[in-house]
Symmetry: C2
């Protein structure tokens, strides 16, 4: 029943005792935490499994807010996932409120970029931080997005700055659940 087309990247994140990523911290920033786990396994696909103590699935795919001129700026400085030196990672699952999802497209875009400068102010952190945004809302998951980041230890402080910047903006007033999971391999 599920066959994902080229250009989409379904993944399942499993928190438990297995996986190449060691969970260093798991912090409930807003709302409910996730159950404790020692390691994180990332599997390709939406995997029906009872492995681990928690499981989150999402699908990365087409851009929801990025416009042509932004894409032209982003593409050349966006690093790939899986760089050998990127031995640190973060999985930050996020849910936005009903008020966010009730907004029409132009108002969500205005909050996201014109008022919160999500793309413009993230740009200086590239190409140090690799990232992929998985969408989970249409999958009936407990979060709307699973945001995934990879970086070298020397850029951990820059990553903290990026996350603090995003959390300080108007867009984040619509976030009603957020867990920040830091990882190392």
């Amino acid at each position: 029943m599920s066959t994902y087309p080229a250009g989409t990247f379904p993944a399942t994140f499993i928190g438990g005792a297995a996986g190449v990523w060691r969970i260093e911290t798991s912090t409930a920033v807003t709302g409910e935490p996730l159950p404790p786990a020692d390691r994180l396994e990332v599997r390709e696909g939406i995997v029906p499994t009872s492995a681990g103590t928690w499981r989150l699935s999402g699908v990365a795919g087409h851009p929801r807010y990025v416009e042509r001129r932004e894409k032209a700026q982003l593409d050349p400085v966006t690093p790939p996932l899986g760089r050998p030196e990127a031995t640190m990672a973060a999985l930050i699952p996020i849910r936005k409120s009903a008020a966010w999802w009730a907004l029409p497209q132009d108002e969500r875009r205005a909050i996201f970029e014109q008022r919160s400068r999500h793309i413009a102010d993230s740009m200086p952190f590239l190409p140090r931080i690799a990232r992929r945004l998985y969408h989970a809302r249409d999958l009936g998951q407990p979060f709307d997005f699973l945001t995934w980041f990879e970086f070298a230890p020397g850029h951990a402080r820059a990553f903290d700055e990026l996350v603090a910047m995003l959390r300080s903006r108007e867009e984040w007033t619509y976030v009603d659940r957020e867990v920040d999971i830091r990882l190392a391999r």
Copy 2:
């Protein structure tokens, strides 16, 4: 693992021998047809089932292209689903090409509305035709959208006009699979 929030409407359409809707015709407009079936059952939720000869699931939810001023025009003239006089329906599953999904948001919006007038030229058909758009791409389904329409027999000709208008526009050059299923109860 799947609990859908308020404001989302997951559904599974099952073509087979059961269901309140009689399948009058099922036409492959572009690409592969669906296997023949006599009746259509619509179940709430993403239902794992082997019932029927085919199954399609999708989730209706937040607007992807509609802007505030359009929403203000649409909302007052949008009829509910399930009107007693709406004894005819259409299920039109649609898939768009990789080229469509690779476009940034502003270019998809421009094709959808500025150049194809999807919203503006659909508006005159309201409130005669009730509709709901289910998204299926993130679910790994064979179609990206399941479009659902309900209308009274007296408005069947208007519905044909609406569908012909949409198919004649630039947006539709990105449709690479479409099946048109007409129903009555």
